[in-house]
Amino acid sequence: MLIRLDESVHSCIIKGDAQLTVVPGVPVPVARCASSCCRACQFLLPRVPVPVAARASSCCRACQFLLPRVPVPVAARASSCCRACSLLSLLYWLFHQTTDFKPVPLKAGEEEDYMLALKQELRGAMQRLPYNIKPLSNRAEVEKYTQRYIKQSQRTNEEWTPDWNLLPKELMPRKRRVGAEAGTTKKTRISQKVNQDILNKLEDLEKKDRNPEKSDDETEKKAENEEEEVEEEEFEEEDIEEENDYIDSYFDNGEDFAAGSDENIDGEATY
């Protein structure tokens, strides 16, 4: 945003709490005046008080086209001066390098060449280390033919397991196997319970002449209900998607199944 300054009156932009306000015609002491090098964007970064004489020439070459009042000498345009819009001025610098002052040639020699090689080698090596975390590739596109070769050449054949004695405990990743283990125990438990149930049922059948199917159903669903609770306890906090597809799908199935059984139980309870 640009606010026209009235040249005749010694006005200034004062940075308010909420927004910028222009106080027209009220003279502001120079010390309080938010004047940095750039007129256009001075309110962004008020730091160095500039005397009135200096303020006359807009010196920020990045935004000088915004406020072209006083022609700026070529020498002044050469260097980035506005801190507020340094990015813009950088662009400007790149494309409009002055020819007034040529850069000094770089030192060249064995030492410099070696350092250069070291630098580039180091950069390459760091990218191959396990510390370089690749962004999760969410595009499961068609695999490119060349991808295979690149993968082969850049394959990192090491896994990084940090020494947890040096790191805070909370950074430890949660164990993923918990789910799988729970799954196996569940199965065994089921089978035990089912076995017991069968025995019970047989006994029941012997003693009373009742419908075996119903009791079987009930007990099994009870067991499942319990397991589901266990699962929920374990994964309550895990609100983030799992990286491992296998586990993901596994639990999806489990939940679906459990939900189905839940309904069934409800139905039974009412009935």
Partner: protein
Amino acid sequence: MTTQEVRLCGLLLREHFGEVVEKLGTHLLRSGSQNLRTILHETGMPRDLVKKVLCVLVQNGVCVFNHRGPGRPTNYQANSNKILRILRYPRYIYTAKTLYGDTGELIIEELLQRGEMTMSRTVKTVADRLTQNMEDGQCMDYSEVSSAFCKLVETHFLQRCPPVAGAGKADSAAPATPATQAGASAPTPESFPDCYRVPQVTIRGQGKRRLSSEDVDQTIAKKAKMDPETHGDEGIYWQVNFERFHLHFRDQAIISAVANKLDQTSSEIVRTMLRMSEVTTSPTASCTKPLSANEIFRSLPSTYNIARPILDQYLTLLVDDPMEFVGRAGESGGGMFVVNLHKVLANLARATLESIVQERFGSRSARIFRLLLRKRHLEQKQVEDFAMVPAKEAKDMLYMLLSQNLVQLQEIPKTPDFAPSRTFYLYTCNQLPTLWLTEACLPLIYPTNVSNVSWDRSDRLLFCLTDRRLLEKSQRIEAILASLQASGAEPEQLTEVEEMITAPEKQQLDSLRLHINKLDSAENQVDDTIFILESYISATATS
């Protein structure tokens, strides 16, 4: 912390650790100390990823955490200085090479790449890498590498990582006392007594050659089996002692300054003095411990062939020099001499700034700048007169310097209303303030890094889209060539693949490579300048 610094740090992180780390790193830099929950909340990244990134940052020393006792969340804080040191890594490695040969080079390189490692693992990797590069039938012995490692530790170039409070399982046993809590915020390795003690390590054997690619999978399986063997130094991690390297750089800078100002022989004398006082002088001392002329004479290597009277002459010359490299501390023992470390640094920094001004703003501006350095406070009119520059030009240059923050302006009002007509405007250069480094020098190094970004991101400035595509293409072709060679393809096939890059494309690629090389080596050399200014600032901060 300026925006530019944060941006530079972000770029460095991206180059070396990937985009994910960059995102979290810059977030930490901007927001200061934070706990895990806040980080998760503010970045919105998946929990496991954040944890992994934090592990990487801590491992590489970029991020420190402080544990504030049970029940209170651990805070994480990123350290921008550590990130900026990445720019100096080539120099550390090169120095290690000049001092300790290839072995030292590789040790430092490995440690820099991995942040911290145990001695046994370092020795193994280095020996393996050295063996890799040797001819067939030869291999590097572990003991040789570990002796080089010990030498590096003895000379304090390596140090143990300080014990961490509140990490892992260890902390539950030892309750944190207030004293350790205070220390935990800024743990200094020096305060830890075993800092430079090498543990008993039992490693025998020789470096192994890496096998051809199809065997890699087998070796991984083997490694997993071999891993349980212990070397007696588990849990003792080593890191590079940057401060020691910086002292070495400082000494080298002083020596080369003397060599440039006077001559080779006098630089050798100063070198001898610095070496003698290396152990006795504390890192922050403003000058070395006094050395008598006799001592210096005895310690001079005999190859220099400097006679006693000539030494005395050289010493008086050094003392009388306006740069004040060497000071006379007393008359006993044929004269006591010290090396004025801080004064030399100040002079070097001043010379550097003067030449920066001269190169960027011309010799007339440099004249004004020097004038202000000498006279401290001057009015605009006085500047014009003393510098003998026409009033209009002088005004231009002064404003130019002012806008670059190389010169400050002090307003002294005669009346409290700050009316311009009744105010003195004094231009000054306060004795090289800290502000200068960040304000004046970071922008210098800045453009070079922008180009590195464009290497990754096509939408940036220097290299347009076609270049990006070209780069990808050449990478692909190189990969295909490599894999074809590995599988033993015929030469015709290879040339066919090579011809996929046309001649003009090749030309373009070459020029691109040239540019990148130039920028990289410019980065290295700008870092030298920054080092001098930095060490001057740290010297003034302590004195």
